[in-house]
Symmetry: C2
Subunit: 361 residues, 2 copies
Amino acid sequence: MSYKITPLKNDTFLRALMRQPTEHTPVWLMRQAGRYLPEYRAVRQKAGSFMGLAKNTDYATEVTIQPLDRFKLDAAILFSDILTVPDAMGLGLHFEDGEGPKFERPLRDEKDILALQVPDMANLQYVFDAVSQIRTTLDGRVPLIGFSGSPWTLACYMVKGGGSKDYRTIKSMLYGRPDLMHHILRINAQAVAQYLNAQIDAGAQAVMIFDSWGGVLADGAYQTFSLDYMREVVRLLKKEKDGVKIPSVVFTKGGGLWLDEIADIGADAVGLDWTVNLGKARAQVGHKVALQGNLDPMALFSNPEQIRAEVKHTLDSFGKPAEGSGHVFNLGHGISQFTSPESVEVLVNAVHEFSQQIRKS
Amino acid sequence: MSYKITPLKNDTFLRALMRQPTEHTPVWLMRQAGRYLPEYRAVRQKAGSFMGLAKNTDYATEVTIQPLDRFKLDAAILFSDILTVPDAMGLGLHFEDGEGPKFERPLRDEKDILALQVPDMANLQYVFDAVSQIRTTLDGRVPLIGFSGSPWTLACYMVKGGGSKDYRTIKSMLYGRPDLMHHILRINAQAVAQYLNAQIDAGAQAVMIFDSWGGVLADGAYQTFSLDYMREVVRLLKKEKDGVKIPSVVFTKGGGLWLDEIADIGADAVGLDWTVNLGKARAQVGHKVALQGNLDPMALFSNPEQIRAEVKHTLDSFGKPAEGSGHVFNLGHGISQFTSPESVEVLVNAVHEFSQQIRKS
């Protein structure tokens, strides 16, 4: 499937990522297409399963667009999962109701690990088809973000099979058999880069790497087992498409202590969770990268007045944007499924309202 | 019950906390009296339940001493739970097998919250009796640490009743009804201070505040809802007993980004988890506080050679101790119940061996 190149009606998000001036602070929300929306739940029910939804181009397109029809969001993000790559490697991704993702065939034996291969990207064609169709459907309303899990985050799930409280299985391998760990991570880095580049070819206008589990690593281990492989992914990424710059965002949840190092791997922007002081982060690395974040998703569980105050606090913490700095408003983590859509509306409108005021001040 | 004052045979731990020179780096492990030891599991079975164990003076004494008989640890820590204070407030602490602590009567109604009182310390006499008996039994082998959960960490359990994935219940109160949150925290701070002071009276030679859940808070909220109340506890603590200094340690897991502020609340030492670079932390605040930590507990799930290498790495990261600096070796979190006691022995011996070498280098 091919897509028409339509000029963007709203490129605020891309300009902020490239640290160019914008009229307001662009806003999107991690997991903005998701269970907190009744219209999402309706499609999810028709699809039968999470992967049934993700693998159906029409459904994936429909739920990607849903939040844009409700809220004045400045970007769309592909509806998919961070774990599609290991699924394409043959590990068998599945979701059980009320639980996180799991793999049917986790990597446990040395033999299986050494046999691991970068998957045939044809196994991921459903993702690229969704990207193309979403891009066509968006028709230039806002830019489309493609994404993947980070090599380390994918490995966490690949080795353990599912979520973990203390990361004992994967850390036992990390500390006891670092050679096997590095073998998996090298392959993951190649696979993630190919996967993101194919999303760019299909029409993604920015890409984001979700390092959801980098923050569980020890200082030192983080750099060796997560950051180095994200640097490799970023190095391999296409930097432009048809002469248009494709910005990249890296986000290590719980990575605030390593901000200087993260800002140095070559990505255009760094995602921040709510533990980070946005003003300090800007002073530290704001001249090198744009910053994306970082309201606590739980701040949406209060009243409209309080939500507006928290939005203002976040914008004030970053401060008045200036040439050479960039801020994209987001939550510090995915939106909770229990959030009221009305609260999201209050948030999105408040970001636009207050960020315009700050620019005039 | 009274205790004999016996001069300490090994006061390395107390001297390190006060940033005085020591011959080796003292070491103890959070949850060192616990399920990874078969002799602990035997007593736990006799006691019938976790609280049955904690409330029986003889059992609590026995399990506190157990790890000292196996390993050359430099401190003992009272066997108890961080949640004894809200239990004494009448919330009904209980443990279900394979699950974390829960309260039978969590604080949900405004009426219940406003009725909350600092508990009668007589309800906690079993803790003070255990402290006295352990101190007598130790007979000066090593110092005894008393402890409590932080006001915020207690509140997390008190409001929710048990553990939580996204802290939605407590954060909804924090963002939506900060007045109620502060009411609970004010009472908790008073209660924790009284509780720790009574442990000091009973014979605790150092005290530690475990802020296990401070790290889930947003920047700004951490300072307002956790740190300020720990500062109040530290202010109210007895600084000495019978003319002997009683040092205090505060530990916010996930608090590395707030190290400067934590080091300023008046405690003698700050606990660090494994995400923190010990060398950087020393450069930042090592002239103001001793540092305690910070090996990843999962590093014990490897072979002896690798455990020794990780211990050496941690000691090297802090660097050669000098007058005015102090390091207490510990894990960055409680030891896992699945740890092999043989691995703990390797760790403890390696800390002593390498830290003596570093001092001679």
